[in-house]
């Protein structure tokens, strides 16, 4: 049943041997050295401070939705950095390899990256940015915020939540290890068929890509199930559908899209793996395969996926803009309806990714019109945000800057999308960098929203605000980079530059390529300021300490009702919802400081190492399959089954936190300045952070002092 492929195989190591570790490639060698030094430094630091136990008990085995969400975000931000480095490398190669006279270095004819290496970089860049950077960050934000906004104590399935995270982490691990052991796919993030078939890509690169995508896809599907069930089943009493924050609406719509589309991706890539391992002929050029089948299946996931990431971003904008306009959101009902409508329409537009593949005028016309229909609900949203700003008392805090930037980008990205959705235009720019500029423009909307969300909700989770000055610098450099880089790219697209080129034949494109390089250097500066922002904020946390439950003074939704940082139990007593913007309603009616007079016992699930172990087994399964070490793959699979069964036999009684202890903790939050700290058990409870004793007036007593 198993297919033949070129090259040796041993039982113990499968296809792996020492030559697969690319020591001869100076770039990878130095990356390897750098990553190793970094890893040793981190491990050393954790050991030095004796934090292993803390890390294991409080984070890695945690079932707390806030901690899992934070881990998701950290994973996503780290991977975004990796994807960004890939981007810098591609930009630089394209700038160096212009014209026949351009010199070549390190084995490349032009520039410094040979075509095969270049192909791996752009494939890794796309796969990482979409699946392992933006998706985890958004899932992380939904994880943290959704339960808080609906007044729940945790997600509907805390254990499944941890499992989803560790599956995502395992998949990410596969992508990362492909840097140093073997190679990665060179067939694009979309897995261009039939290039991905064994006959044309006999190495392990495509296998790394495909198993990472499948394992990560399962993780994201499970996360979607969890978020849907949480929103439907766990809302606090009084929170009817029309009182639910818009972010929850978008999270719901996005999760329905994710739940229904990710399985299709898993199926498409699994069929490809069957071709590569079992010798079937789903997508092969001969013997009855059909490569358009792959293309269709991929984009049936691919297009809904772009809405899976953009919908939560819309939700984030809908939370930030009212807060900093000091007004309720305009057009709540249409906003909720538009979120659902966008999710629905996203299902019937996938063919616009291959208008040029010869489907015929009728089919193209259908998908063209369907694609443009998306513009209607999106337009509704844009107008709603604009009317929210209209006559509001607009404040330009860092989250608001990111939100406004996202709005501008949404406009240009949406308009170029409309252009692409017209087959007549599409035929001239398809597969050019114009398309690349369009979707980077759209994905930057998501990126801006993520940065906005990080700045907006950071004080809720960690109890102190992020530094304002460096945050603003990061925003402005990032925005400038976006304009310079993607402006140049749009122009190059109009000039007909195809995407994914490792060598540029026309020297007349050099000025615009330099523009792109300048743009990415601005991104580099922006990343520096982002890292600096985190560093400065943690260093000066005492100064930025949030003294009220509402970090911005004008927030509206329920998450701002509980303390900052959020205690592990979220709400000491489940709130009863009286209004659409519950926190704003309580504040405006002078109820902001009213605390419950009586506390009850709280029941919580115990931490468990099983999800981490499951992730490890999934990694072993993936790694074993990539290298065709079948014993390892089989052990991984058996391990997963055994762990699942073992879990079902331990009925996990959980533990109860007595009401008296809750009262104590609540009292410590409201205590006089200087007396706080000891009893605090916040989500970001890194021991050092708790020792800073900043003044802390009564929690929940309204707006912080603002200049």
């Amino acid at each position: 049943m198993l297919v033949d492929y070129p090259g040796p195989w041993t039982f113990l190591l499968g296809r792996l041997d020492a030559r697969e570790i690319p020591l001869q490639n100076p770039i990878l060698l130095w990356t390897f050295v750098l990553v190793s030094v970094g890893a040793v430094a981190v491990i050393g630091a954790v050991t030095y401070y004796g934090s292993w136990g803390y890390l294991w008990r409080e984070w890695l085995t945690s079932l707390d939705h806030k901690r899992i969400g934070v881990m998701y975000c950290l994973l996503g931000v780290a991977m975004m950095f990796r994807g960004f480095i890939d981007g810098v490398m591609m930009r630089t190669q394209q700038l160096m390899a212009v014209g026949p006279k351009s010199p070549g270095y390190m084995g490349a004819l032009h520039g410094y990256l040979p075509p095969y290496h270049f192909g791996q970089i752009y494939s890794a860049h796309g796969t990482i940015m979409i699946l392992f950077a933006i998706t985890p960050i958004l899932v992380g934000i939904m994880n943290i915020i959704v339960p808080l906004q609906i007044g729940a104590r945790d997600m509907a399935y805390p254990y499944l939540n941890a499992m989803s995270f560790w599956l995502t982490a395992a998949a990410t691990g596969l992508v990362m290890i492909s840097l140093f052991v073997g190679d990665f796919s060179h067939a694009g993030w979309v897995g261009l068929s039939p290039l991905t078939e064994l006959a044309y890509s006999p190495g392990v690169g495509v296998d790394y890509w495909s198993w990472a995508v499948q394992i990560g896809g399962v993780g994201t599907t499970l996360a979607s199930i969890n978020i849907i069930a949480t929103i439907i089943k766990m809302r606090a009493p009084g929170m009817s559908w029309t009182r639910m924050p818009i972010f929850c609406w978008t999270a719901l719509s996005a999760s329905v899209v994710g739940l229904s589309s990710f399985p299709v991706l898993t199926a498409a890539v699994a069929l490809l793996s069957l071709d590569r391992y079992a010798g079937t002929h789903f997508f092969t050029p001969g013997l009855g395969g059909n490569l358009m089948l792959y293309t269709d299946l991929f984009w049936i996931w691919g297009h809904p996926e772009v809405y899976y990431v953009v919908l939560p971003a819309f939700g984030i904008l809908s939370e930030i803009i009212p807060t900093f306009s000091e007004k309720p959101l305009f057009g709540y009902v249409t906003m909720a309806a538009a979120s659902i409508a966008i999710g629905g329409v996203s299902w019937s537009v996938w063919l616009h990714h291959f208008f040029t593949m010869g489907a015929g005028p009728g089919v193209n016309a259908f998908f063209s019109i369907a694609s443009m229909l998306v513009g209607i609900p999106t337009g509704v949203k844009v107008f709603n945000w604009a009317f929210t700003l209209y006559r509001g008392r607009v404040r330009f805090d860092v989250p608001m800057l990111w939100a406004l930037g996202a709005l501008v980008l949404l406009l240009t990205g949406g308009l170029t999308g409309m252009m692409l959705a017209m087959p007549a235009i599409n035929y001239t720019v398809h597969n050019s960098v114009f398309v690349v500029a369009h979707f980077h423009n759209m994905l930057n909307v998501v990126g801006f929203a993520c940065f906005g969300a990080i700045n907006y909700w950071f004080p809720k989770v960690f109890g102190f605000r992020l530094d304002e000055r460096t945050g603003k610098l990061a925003f402005w450099f990032f925005s400038a980079g976006t304009v310079v880089l993607f402006g140049s790219m749009y122009a190059l697209g109009f000039m007909g530059m195809p995407r994914r080129m490792d060598y540029i034949p026309f020297t007349s494109w050099r000025p615009l390529l330099m523009g792109e390089e300048a743009g990415i250097l601005l991104f580099l500066v922006a990343s520096y300021y982002f890292v600096k922002q985190l560093f400065v904020s943690i260093r000066d946390r005492a100064k930025n300490r949030v003294t009220a439950s509402d970090a911005w003074g004008t927030s509206r939704s329920l998450e701002w009702l509980t303390h900052s940082p959020v205690p592990f139990y979220n709400f000491a007593v489940q709130p009863h919802i009286n209004s659409r913007d519950e926190w704003a309603w309580r504040r405006e009616h002078g109820l902001g400081h009213v605390r419950p007079d009586r506390y009850e016992d709280i029941h919580l699930p115990d931490n468990t190492p099983l999800p981490v172990m499951l992730g490890a087994c999934a990694f072993a399964l993936g790694f074993g399959l990539v290298w065709r070490m079948y014993w390892l793959a089989a052990s991984g699979l058996v391990g997963i089954v055994v762990l699942v069964i073992a879990r079902s036999f331990q009925d996990g009684p959980g533990h109860t936190v007595p009401g008296a202890r809750i009262r104590q903790m609540e009292a410590s939050y409201a205590a006089a300045p200087g007396e706080v700290g000891a009893a605090r058990d916040p989500v970001g409870g890194v021991a050092a952070w708790q020792t800073a004793s900043a003044p802390r007036p009564r929690a929940g007593d309204g707006r912080p002092a603002r200049p």
């Binding site: 049943m1 297919v3 399935y157 499944l160 599907t221 979607s224 199930i225 969890n226 069930a229 439907i232 089943k233 606090a236 009493p237 009084g238 009182r243 739940l259 229904s260 589309s261 990710f262 399985p263 299709v264 199926a267 069929l271 069957l274 071709d275 079992a278 079937t280 002929h281 789903f282 001969g286 013997l287 009855g288 395969g289 059909n290 089948l293 299946l297 049936i300 309720p328 709540y332 007593v573 489940q574 709130p575 009863h576 009286n578 209004s579 659409r580 913007d581 704003a584 309603w585 009616h589 002078g590 109820l591 009213v594 009586r598 009850e600 089954v641 069964i645 079902s648 036999f649 009925d651």
Partner: protein, 212 residues
Amino acid sequence: MSQDAHVDSATAVLWDRGGTKHDMIATRTFGFWLYLLSDAMIVSSLFASYLVLGHRVNAAAGPSAGDVVHPIAAFWGTVLLFSAILAYGGAMVGLKRGDRRAVLAGLGGAFVLGAGFLFVEGRDFAELALHGMVPERSGYLSAFYTLVLYHGAHLVFGLLWIAVMMAQVARQGFTANVIYRLLNLKLFWFFQGFVWIYVFSFVYLTGALHVH
């Protein structure tokens, strides 16, 4: 400014004392429905692939549906599968009465009948393989085997799950955890019958008409 000005802030309830208890069993079952939805998406993708690769070209001058499917064998398989589902229904009746032995008997019956289905299917496939009709032969056969075996793999998993549940019912009795798992397994098991209806109609019955 607030939209819900009609709630009187002086008398409004702010905290939900006594804590509304979420119905654990209902929440778990709901999540399982969502999982089934995602699985149905995979099944639909496989059906789509089967229909796309059902064209003559995709048989690559090899056997096509008419040569491959054995509706009679599949019919006996169908009888076994639906008896297995009926047996599971029996276990559910036992659960309502809180009758441990009836539940164990129903689960045991479902296990044996489900295994019987797999036996019939396996024998059918072994015969096909003997005639060189293997997945590697053509795009059509790849899609055929993948679709039918995806269903079969679910049954294998279902058997494992039934075995685990028999152990849990015998050891733990009807705790809330055991009950929600029995309900989810019911959904899972019935869902396999539901998928099989489509496989039987679109692959076996329709296929049998395609004799050339």
